[in-house]
Amino acid sequence: MKRIIATLVAVIFAATACGGASTAPSATPAASATPSKPKFELSTYMYAIQTKGKIRIGTQEDNFPFSVKNPATGKWEGFDVDVGRELAKAIFGTSDDPDKNIEYVAVTSATRIPSLTDNKADVIIKTFTITDERKQQIDFSDVYFITGQRILVKKSDDKIKEAADLAEKTVCAQRGSTSEQNVTKATGGRAKLLLLDSYPACLLALQQGQADAVSTDETILFGLVKQDPNTKIVGKPFSDEPYGIGIKKNQGNDRNGFVPFVNQWVGTLISGGTWAKLYEKHITPVSNDKKQTPKG
């Protein structure tokens, strides 16, 4: 019985492997990947991931244009998702379908840190602002994206133009996010905060007049404007939001060499021009600008 199962598993494995690499059919599943597979020190976490065969990438299911799980196809799409695919390639070698080496872990703003500290994900790539408070809990990679917090209002609204105008207004933000604290800071605590679980809910509240404005990172607001063309983004950015890739702290040597590796990879992602291509693909359609590096 065991042998039958073993044979079946081998057959299925071989079949899927051939299907995945149809351009270069090979006898053994391993052979196709081996040539381009990067080599790592045995003690490093990259080696551990490579051996396991999958990297667990934590990202959000509804965070256009950064990460969206397409409801029609079930495939993940977006800037953060493609950054994750590049990271998978850096660990497992170039491949037509990096997704076969990726296990996506759906996270929300509130579960990002716990999913790292509880070892549910290897990296969090999800519009994750680097802050000193968060650094006490987890490590961040170098900055791979920079954005700022702005304000979304109805197109008909000509009263709210800057952060200062938010005083005494009802402002919607996501509970457990830096946006909420930035609004409090920018208005000296004079804005009334409506804290909901997601920005689509905030948009709904704005549409119905339950909130006067929605405030968060500009990049998230782009997604909302795309959903509802009757809204507009106003004001200068009143925060500097550097996004990093979240990684569990190297406690007990369980993440050896991982942060330096990711940092080096972020560097080549930007200098090699891949970053600019991803920006143009995912961000430009909503921002109408082009950037070569996170800084501009």
Partner: protein
Amino acid sequence: MIAFQFPDLFFGGLWLTIQISVLGLAGALVIGTAVALLRVSPTALLRWVGGAYVEFFRNTPLVVQLFFLFLGLPLIGIRFSTDTFENNFRAAFIGMGLYHAAYVAEVVRGGLLGVERGQIEAARSLGLSYPQMLRFVQLPQTFRSVVPPLGNIAIALVKNTALASTIGVAELLSAAEIVESRTFRAEESYLAATFLFLVLTLPLGFVVNTLERRMVIAR
């Protein structure tokens, strides 16, 4: 304790939780009893209406109902208040009341049916009208038998108020989440919220137990 470092959030949250619980429970008892009376009514149509109410509210998630009351109703022009925070607060306790009324209705209906048929027939043959019979014979006995299960519903309601955080009501759970996101002291924040919930539910449980014992002796 972290609750004293953020008293506005935690104790403000506790106060909102208490308000939603009390108003929600009052609503649930009134609506629930009314629905139970519909369910045992002699008229088939009324029985059907009562049944439909119970099935609808019992078989859809409370969080969806709350979301509908807060963000769905304004789409058809209904709003409980022009002020957003008054509106979501009202949506919260109205939602609590409507949802738990379905459970109250089932409990009260059980109690109504538990009253001996003979007593009802005796009351009617003595010349009491249907409302009089309810008022003097069936309902008093019902209330006695339904106190313990109603107590359980009350405790469930207090705990379910945590869902009001999803529509932006700054109740206890929401306070814990906000403090957690500011301090990253997750364990302390949620333990504080847990403790404050227990401060509400444990005495409630004690009251229910005491009432239950009293009722048994009185019988």
